[in-house]
C-alpha cells in the first residue's frame, strides 16, 4: 500500500500541470530540497539551509514558530467567527448568544479563538525574553528585534480590540478602563480618545472602529510585519546559534 501510495504521489508530482505550478520537481536530493524552498514565494522568506545547532528544541523552544501557529489558528477561527458576527449594538451580544446556543460548534469556535489569543500574547512575551536571554537580539539582528517589538505592540492591540467585540460587561468596562488611560496623554489626550472611540464614550461607533481595526487593519499590519520578520532572519544570517563553535569540541 505504502509503495503504491508513494508511486501515486510521484506520478502526481511528475504531472505536467503540477510541474507548471511547482517547478522544483520530484526527487529527494539536496538540490530538489533547496529548490522546494527557494522557488516558493512564501517559503523563500526562509534560507535553504539552517545551522544544525539552531534546529533543536533548546535553541529556540520553538516559541516563534508557536506564536506564528497561534496567529494561523486566530486567522482561521477569526474568519469563521466573522460569518456569524454583526458589529452593531446590541446585535453583537446577540450573536455571542447565537454562537452559544444556535451555531454548530459555535462555543468551541469562540473558545478556540479566545484561548489562542491569550496564548499568542503570552507566547510573544516568552519569545521576546527567550531571544533576549540568548543574546540573539545583538547585531546584526538588532533591527529584527525592533520589528519584533512593533509586532508585540500590534499583538497587544489585536487582543485589546478583539476584547470589545462580544459587547458584554467584561468587554465594555475593560475597554473603558483602557480608553481612559489614552485620555491621560498630555495636551491631546481627549482628542486621541475621541479618535480611538469615534465619540466621547464607548458606544456603537467604538465597536465598529474596533471591529475594523481587529479584522482588517491590524491583521494586515501583522501579516506584513511577520513576513519581514521571517525574511530578516535569513538576511541577518539565520537563527542565532550562540557563540561560534570551538574546533574539536562541537559536533
Amino acid at each position: 500500500m505504502a509503495n503504491t501510495l508513494d508511486q501515486l504521489v510521484e506520478q502526481v508530482r511528475e504531472n505536467r500541470i503540477w510541474r507548471s505550478i511547482f517547478r522544483s520537481g520530484t526527487g529527494a536530493s539536496n538540490l530538489h530540497r533547496a529548490l522546494f524552498v527557494q522557488q516558493n514565494v512564501f517559503l523563500h522568506l526562509f534560507s535553504v539551509k539552517a545551522r544544525k545547532r539552531t534546529v533543536g528544541f533548546s535553541a529556540t523552544w520553538y516559541l516563534g514558530a508557536m506564536t506564528f501557529g497561534t496567529f494561523l489558528i486566530l486567522v482561521i477561527t477569526g474568519i469563521l467567527l466573522m460569518l456569524y458576527y454583526h458589529p452593531s449594538v446590541p446585535q453583537a451580544y446577540a450573536d455571542m448568544k447565537d454562537l452559544q446556543f444556535v451555531v454548530s460548534s459555535g462555543v468551541f469556535l469562540r473558545n478556540l479563538h479566545r484561548w489562542s489569543a491569550h496564548a499568542m500574547v503570552f507566547l510573544v512575551f516568552a519569545h521576546m525574553f527567550k531571544v533576549f536571554y540568548r543574546g540573539a537580539c545583538r547585531p546584526p539582528r538588532e533591527f529584527n528585534w525592533v520589528i519584533g517589538v512593533v509586532l508585540l505592540l500590534v499583538t497587544l492591540l489585536l487582543s485589546y480590540t478583539g476584547y470589545l467585540l462580544p459587547w458584554d460587561q467584561l468587554a465594555y468596562w475593560a475597554v473603558t478602563v483602557g480608553s481612559n488611560i489614552a485620555s491621560a496623554v498630555p495636551v491631546m489626550g481627549s482628542k486621541i480618545r475621541f479618535l480611538m472611540l469615534g465619540g466621547t464614550a464607548v458606544n456603537a461607533n467604538a465597536l465598529l472602529r474596533f471591529y475594523v481595526l481587529h479584522c482588517v487593519i491590524l491583521p494586515f499590519a501583522a501579516t506584513l510585519l511577520v513576513a519581514i520578520h521571517f525574511w530578516r532572519i535569513r538576511k541577518d544570517g539565520g537563527i542565532y546559534a550562540g557563540e561560534p563553535a570551538i574546533e574539536g569540541k562541537s559536533e
Binding site: K49, L112, Q169, I181, S183, P244
Partner: protein, 234 residues
C-alpha cells in the same frame, strides 16, 4: 591542525615586514580555534517538519483547552452599571496596578512609553555601552552610581507607597550586589554566571520580574475597590 612547518621563527629588524605576535592567555582560558563552517541541515524537510510538529502540538493543546473551558461571557454591556473592580485584559493589569499608585499620565503614558523605548534601544545599547559583565571594570565607580540610583528609585517608590514594585527591585538589586562582591577569578557556578552579566541583562531581568509580579497581583490579588483579596476567597 595546521602543519608546524607553516611557521618559521625568524629574527628581523623590519617589524613591518615580519610583525611580532604575542599571545596573552589569561587565567581560566585556553587558546582555541573557532570553527568557520559548521554543520547545516536542509530547511526542507528538517526545519519545516519540526515547526509543523510544534504547531500541531500547540494546536492540540489549545483544542483540548477549548473543549474543557468556556470563554467568559457576562451579561450585555451596560454603561449605567460599573462592575467592581473593572479590570482590563490580564496583560494590562500590571499597568492598571501602577495606575492605582501613580497619576494616569505617569502610569498610563510615561511608563509604557519608556518601556517601549527601552525595548527598542536594548540591542543598540548592548554594543555601544557594554556587552561585558557590569562589575568587571570600574567596579567601585559603578557601585557608587548603582547605589545612588537604587536608593533614589527605592525612596521614590516608597513615597508613592508602591511596595509591590519596591520588593522585586530590592531583590534584583541584592543579586546585583552579590555579583559585585564576587571575585570573577575564583567564583564558581551560579555566582560566576552572575558576574558575567551585562547591564542590559540586569535591566531586562528587573523588568521581567516586575512585569510578572505586577501582572500576577493585578490578576489574582485585587478585588472590589482595588483592595487586596486572596484569589481562593474571591
Amino acid at each position: 591542525m595546521s602543519d608546524p612547518k607553516d611557521f618559521v621563527a625568524v629574527l628581523d629588524s623590519d617589524a613591518r615586514r615580519t610583525p611580532r605576535r604575542i599571545a596573552c592567555i589569561t587565567k581560566r582560558t585556553s587558546p582555541q580555534v573557532r570553527v568557520k563552517d559548521e554543520d547545516r541541515v536542509m530547511t526542507y524537510p528538517e526545519v519545516f517538519f519540526r515547526v509543523a510538529v510544534a504547531i500541531e502540538v500547540l494546536a492540540i493543546a489549545l483544542v483540548v483547552i477549548s473543549l474543557l473551558w468556556n470563554a467568559p461571557l457576562e451579561e450585555l454591556a451596560n454603561p449605567m452599571h460599573t462592575p467592581n473592580p473593572a479590570k482590563a485584559p490580564w496583560y494590562f493589569l500590571g499597568l492598571q496596578e501602577l495606575l492605582h499608585y501613580f497619576p494616569p499620565v505617569v502610569a498610563g503614558v510615561l511608563i509604557p512609553g519608556l518601556v517601549v523605548m527601552a525595548l527598542i534601544v536594548i540591542p543598540y545599547f548592548n554594543i555601544n555601552v557594554e556587552a561585558e559583565g557590569l562589575w568587571l571594570r570600574n567596579r567601585s565607580r559603578r557601585l557608587r552610581i548603582f547605589g545612588i540610583v537604587v536608593v533614589v528609585f527605592c525612596i521614590f517608590l516608597a513615597v508613592f507607597d508602591v511596595w509591590v514594585a519596591l520588593v522585586p527591585t530590592i531583590i534584583v538589586a541584592a543579586f546585583m550586589l552579590l555579583a559585585a562582591r564576587t571575585d570573577p577569578q575564583t567564583a564558581q557556578g551560579f555566582k560566576r554566571w552572575l558576574v558575567g552579566k551585562p547591564l542590559s541583562f540586569w535591566i531586562m531581568t528587573w523588568f521581567l520580574v516586575e512585569l510578572f509580579v505586577l501582572t500576577a497581583i493585578g490578576t489574582f490579588f485585587r478585588g472590589p475597590g482595588w483592595s487586596w483579596v486572596l484569589p481562593w476567597r474571591a
